[in-house]
């Protein structure tokens, strides 16, 4: 089945230690998104790739970076995680028109 896969499911990192979360898709969607979701809140868009074009939300901290080396893969890099970055990180994909929006299962990040 076509899907969006996030690894790992749970990630524990130390305060200030760089961490990378990964996302892959078999849907061949042009657009890939990264969302941050904190407890009892709505998902918040961090950035997205429209093919290779990177689009950063204005309020996304500089601490968050992303890479999309090819159509199938996208990475979220947190350069110096703080306690406030503990959250669920969700990857999603869609067509150029935003159709077929599909989320991965998420990576729950804990910062210790």
């Amino acid at each position: 089945d076509a899907m969006v896969i996030q690894n790992p499911r749970y990630q524990v990192t130390q305060f200030g230690k760089p961490v990378t979360l990964s996302c892959s898709q078999t849907l061949n969607h042009n657009v890939m998104y990264w969302y941050q979701q904190k407890s009892s809140q709505a998902p918040k868009l961090l950035f997205h790739y429209y093919d290779k074009d990177f689009n950063n939300e204005a309020d996304t901290p500089d601490n968050f970076q992303s890479r999309r080396p090819n159509t199938s893969f996208c990475f979220l890099d947190i350069r110096s995680p703080g306690l406030g970055d503990a959250a669920m990180y969700l990857c999603a994909t869609s067509s150029r028109q935003g159709i077929g929006y599909t989320f991965g299962s998420g990576t729950r990040l804990t910062v210790v």
Binding site: V31, Y33, Q41, A42, P43, K44, L45, H48, Y50, N55, E57, M88, L90, A92, S94, R96, Q97, G98, I99, G100, Y101, T102, F103, S105, G106, R108
Partner: protein, 108 residues
């Protein structure tokens, strides 16, 4: 920017009851969608519904784009319907904004 407001914020139902969830959006959207987040955190796309009405089993959705609202109907609710229902609007290219969600609890 676009504002997406959902009501009610919380809803508790007895199994078998029907419910209507509402989503108001503040500006023109070209892509209104409904999602369900189950208690384990998985978000599932329920409907892509920029306008008109769609039905899928016990769920249906209606969007009146000219009046900037969308409704999600759940009939004969089951305990597996529990979770958070989000509507989201695409405002600018691929910039999808989520409402705060409606937390639904269906009791057996």
């Amino acid at each position: 920017g676009i504002q997406v407001e959902q009501s009610p914020p919380d809803l508790i139902l007895q199994e078998g009851a029907n419910s209507t969830l509402r989503c108001n959006f503040s500006d023109s959207v070209n892509n209104l969608q409904w999602f369900h987040q189950n208690p384990w955190g998985q978000l599932i796309n329920l409907f892509y519904i920029p306008s008109g009405t769609k039905q899928n089993g016990r769920l249906s959705a209606t969007t009146v784009a000219t009046e900037r609202y969308s409704l999600l109907y759940i009939s004969s609710s089951q305990t597996t319907d529990s979770g958070v229902y989000f509507c989201a609007g695409r405002y600018n290219n691929n910039d999808m904004r989520f409402g705060a969600g409606t937390r639904l609890t269906v009791k057996p």
